[in-house]
């Protein structure tokens, strides 16, 4: 998009490796507890996904991690962290119902919430749930903290380096959070992959296209406010859900 050369593609991994080697700075012991629970829950959710567990249960375990991230940010007496936590809560509030409804859509088609049963289904879900895929992509954008929904991790005071919900995490603790975030990304892309689980090639194409679309959206959109997000995403998401479910019912 620009003619400059950016960091290598593995930079994110180098960053985390470097963070893990840094000295620990402690604001508060709760934070260490919270970032570990966040990581464990995210890893567990991914593990359960690959163990083909119940989608709702996977989602709840994932949500537990998200809640702990917020609680960690709330436990510190720092305005940036507090504001970030409040905004993160609004983000959770926005994407949670949509994710549940995506799972319900899958249930309506397949008749089960089990990842195993969904994978065994013979036609691509995308054909029956095209609108639910759009709904999922809203959740994906929020979960990846991409614009226009990236406000929980950015809030500038006097400097640009302030990072909302993560402001008070540093060194190894921040590294853990980054790793947990990778797990979350894997999980939600995993859910995307269920939409075309009948063929490996198309699944890969779908995932690459989705991820690329996210990057394009991230680079072309400006950050919006939480009010806009909540109203816009809920109304569009619910409308798409109702239309898609009525199709299913009719078809």
């Amino acid at each position: 998009m620009q003619s400059r050369q950016g960091p290598p593609i593995l930079q994110a991994f180098y960053d985390v490796a470097k963070l893990m080697g840094k000295d620990q700075m402690l604001s508060n012991r709760w934070q260490i507890l919270c970032c570990w629970v966040y990581l464990v829950a995210a890893a567990l959710a991914v593990g359960m996904f690959f163990a083909r567990a119940d989608l709702l249960l996977i989602f709840f375990v994932q949500a537990a991690g998200a809640v702990f991230l917020v609680m960690g940010a709330l436990s510190v007496k720092s305005p940036y962290s507090q504001v970030g936590a409040q905004r993160e809560l609004v983000q959770i509030l926005t994407y949670e119902p949509l994710l549940i409804l995506v799972f319900v859509g899958m249930y309506l088609v397949v008749g089960s919430f089990d990842v195993g049963d969904i994978l065994a289904y013979q036609t691509p879900l995308l054909r029956k749930l095209p609108l639910m895929f759009i709904v999922l992509s809203y959740a994906l954008t929020i979960k990846l903290r991409k614009s226009p929904f990236d406000f929980s991790t950015s809030h500038h005071g006097h400097q640009e380096l302030v990072k909302g919900v993560m402001t008070e995490y540093s060194g190894p603790a921040l590294g853990l959070i980054e790793m947990a975030h990778w797990y979350e990304t894997v999980l939600i892309l995993g859910v995307c992959s269920l939409f075309w689980a009948t063929s490996w090639i198309w699944m890969a194409v779908l995932l690459v296209a989705t991820y690329f679309a996210e990057l394009v959206i991230d680079n072309t959109m400006a950050r919006m406010t939480w009010r806009w997000m909540l109203k816009y995403v809920w109304s569009i998401g619910l409308a798409l859900t109702f239309i898609n479910f009525i199709w299913l019912h009719a078809g």
């Binding site: 709760w30 709330l74 549940i100 249930y107 006097h158 859900t241």
Partner: protein, 628 residues
Amino acid sequence: MSNLLLLLIVLPAIAGVVCYFVRSGAVRTFTVTATGAVLTAASLALLGQGSFVFEASGLWESLVTILDFALLFVILYYGFRLRNLLIKVFAAAQIVLLGFFELVLLDHGASVPALMGDSLALVMVLVVSIVGSLICIFGLPYMRKHEQHLKLEKSKQPQFFLYLVLFLGAMNGLVLANNILWLYFFFEVTTFCSFMLIGHDATEVATKNATRALWMNSLGGVALVLGIIWAYTQTGTLSIMAMLAAGPATGVLLVAVGFICLAGFVKAAQLPFQSWLLGAMVAPTPVSALLHSSTMVKAGVYMVLRFSPMFEGSFLSHGIALCGAFTFLACAALAIGQSNGKKILAYSTISNLGLIIACAGLNTPLAIIAAVMLIIFHAISKSLLFLCVGTIEQKIGSRDIEDMRGLFKIMPRTATITIIGILSMLLPPFGVLLCKWMALEAAAGHLFVIVMMALGSALTVVYWARWAGLLMGSRGESRGTEQQPLLTGGPLMLLCASALVFAFTTPYLYTEVLVPAFAAAQVALHGSLLEDAAGGFVMYPLIMLIGLGTLFAVFRALRAKGKESHPYLGGAQVGGMDEGAFLGPMETAVPYSAGNYYLGELFGEHKLTLWINIAAGSLILLMMGGAL
């Protein structure tokens, strides 16, 4: 058998009378504690004996009838004393209807077993007797402090504990009743006890809220009498067992069931009848805890659940599911707009009761089991949270959650227990979440219900997470340990421990106790949710992993070493570690403060309540109309 029943229903009444007449603190403490212990033991013994049917002698029958009329006249008297037209009208209507029923319609010759205990009733007795007793015991030191604070000249504790303990007996009677007129009698007793308890402090606002509770619940009483008379003319029996045995109701009988459910809605403070329960928070904390967790509102959901076989498969059932799901969603939204801790708890209670009623309306075996489990877990977690808020309020003088920032520093033990209580309402592997999971699975085919449940469930996360987060706030070591009287700390620790223990026994409880009791046949046919194909508990590995993960996280947190760092304040920090102040103009320190987002423009009480009440009222009309 009859001795156990006597202990469960009549002993609390006697203990209450003892508390009232013997005005000694020591006797009161002994009586309440001993009654709690006996109730706990008796409820467990009753469980051990299994299902039963109990015929009472004619003497008891007449006594209940006489007491029933006496109670109605007492309520009528209060209607005149409070000069409230609604109470007068509703009480008079009940007296007239009940008199007409007893004198004209009722065949007094037929014998009806007075009490019965099936799985649902036994579960309820356990919840009432154990959780309720713990709350009463917690009330002993609490009320002493409460009265010190109010500087009363003459203690009102005798009266307070009379109604508090009597309440437990009435609840036990209500859930064990088989003769529907007995159910009605105990229903009225709980109405009256709650009225007296809410108005206990006798302030202007307490009296106002107590009056509101009385007229609303009297309205529920009218609906119940109508339902009873209507059902009797259709079925010709007063026995609940006989009515349930006749299978799903059709035609006009369904309307009678609709009226009974409506009475349950009022008692469970479902929208649009929520205001009496919100008003109840002016009462001393043990009262709120009792009303919200183990008694009163649980009586409402119990009635809907009890009669659920009668409306199975009907439009009424769908209507009930819709009403419940709407309450779940709307009250979760209202809870977000609140900063008053007790009010958040109140809305969350109503919201969870809505979920239970939605489950009763969905009426599949899975949904019914979810509802029963929710009753148990909600009673434990919610009573714990109310008692925590009461303890915190007595210490810091506020029930506003903004004032609880960094509470861990002042009250480390209570704060930790509160955090665990909050997490038990919210996260895996705690029971409430598992019930929510089961409810979602059960509702998956029901478009409107599942959408409302999905939205409501996300709203729930917001108000719990931010509260738990701001309780944590602390830095460094806390100031010493926290001292609590035994009767305050004991119930808190016990409830907290049972919330934790239940998290690990949920799958066992589900497969070994609840499925055989409530849905053996259907689940055997369709497979059960918490079990895998090989018959093992799917949940256990998950619970183990979550438990180990959490322990590991706690271990890392305790062992974490590092330099202490200041919170980031844009590089403009002044003062010590604790203060958190910016460097302001003229080199002054400007302390920073943060507040929660209450999303007032979306979820404010004043904005939503009217519309929500209108919507809920229309849904109830739809429900009742569908029954016709």
